[in-house]
Subunit: 128 residues, 2 copies
Amino acid sequence: MRTTTNPRDLTHPSREDIRLEGVLHALSDPLRLRVVHTLAGSPEQLSCSHFDLPVTKSTSTHHFRVLRESGVIHQAYRGTSKMNDLRRDDLDDLFPGLLDSVLVAVSRHSPTPPGRTGGAPPAPPAVY
Amino acid sequence: MRTTTNPRDLTHPSREDIRLEGVLHALSDPLRLRVVHTLAGSPEQLSCSHFDLPVTKSTSTHHFRVLRESGVIHQAYRGTSKMNDLRRDDLDDLFPGLLDSVLVAVSRHSPTPPGRTGGAPPAPPAVY
DNA sequence: CGCCCGGTACGAGATCCATCAAACTACGAG
DNA sequence: CTCGTAGTTTGATGGATCTCGTACCGGGCG
């Protein structure tokens, strides 16, 4: 009967539990939108600490949790840090075109947020 | 120099003042999502009272205001009632594909909300 | 004119949300 | 084992947000 609430267990909603309202709400915050945008522009997973958000650690934790619990991102521990990546497949399957249109909108309307991701430009719209 | 604050004056954000976060936030509420979906499925403007929302009149007013102030809908008085319609052109121009993908997602994941709109099916995805 | 109907304004209460500081946990390196 | 790094938890605070009830207004109808 161990499963005693291991603090390193991360709960993610299954695909069918992801709700549109939740995703839209998660994306309606500038900070979170920035995280999603950066994540989309990176070919690899990124640790939480990679993002240089203008808030404290606890606030950061909060935002990442909102993103995870709404089904927008997937998180997993790797050593001492936590890796994040977009749940692209799930989102594209559930809400086709939604993520892409949001990402394009962010790219268009934000002057490319300070703090470059690494190399890949914002995020090519992917297949249409 | 006041125009004496005419209560029938409705303020709408100009196109360039519409913000992505605001739109996403406005759409992240089930009630408002339902309104937008119904509006999108109607070829004509609809009065506020056309919607049979499970809330009181004042709450209804509140939600319509959120939609208007975020730039999602346009409102205008016509006689004793207020007509609503989507700001499709503005939204499509600012955030291409966003509204369509949201509407498709609503159509897919809601069992066609009770209280039919009139005739037109949910909203054909329009040009891709 | 007087009334109703569609909608607004104004509080007020409850809940949620973003934010922080401070104390804590877990892992890896010395 | 000790320390530092990465992130969590808890509690508090201030600000939105959602909801309501009640009072109000403006236009149309009888």
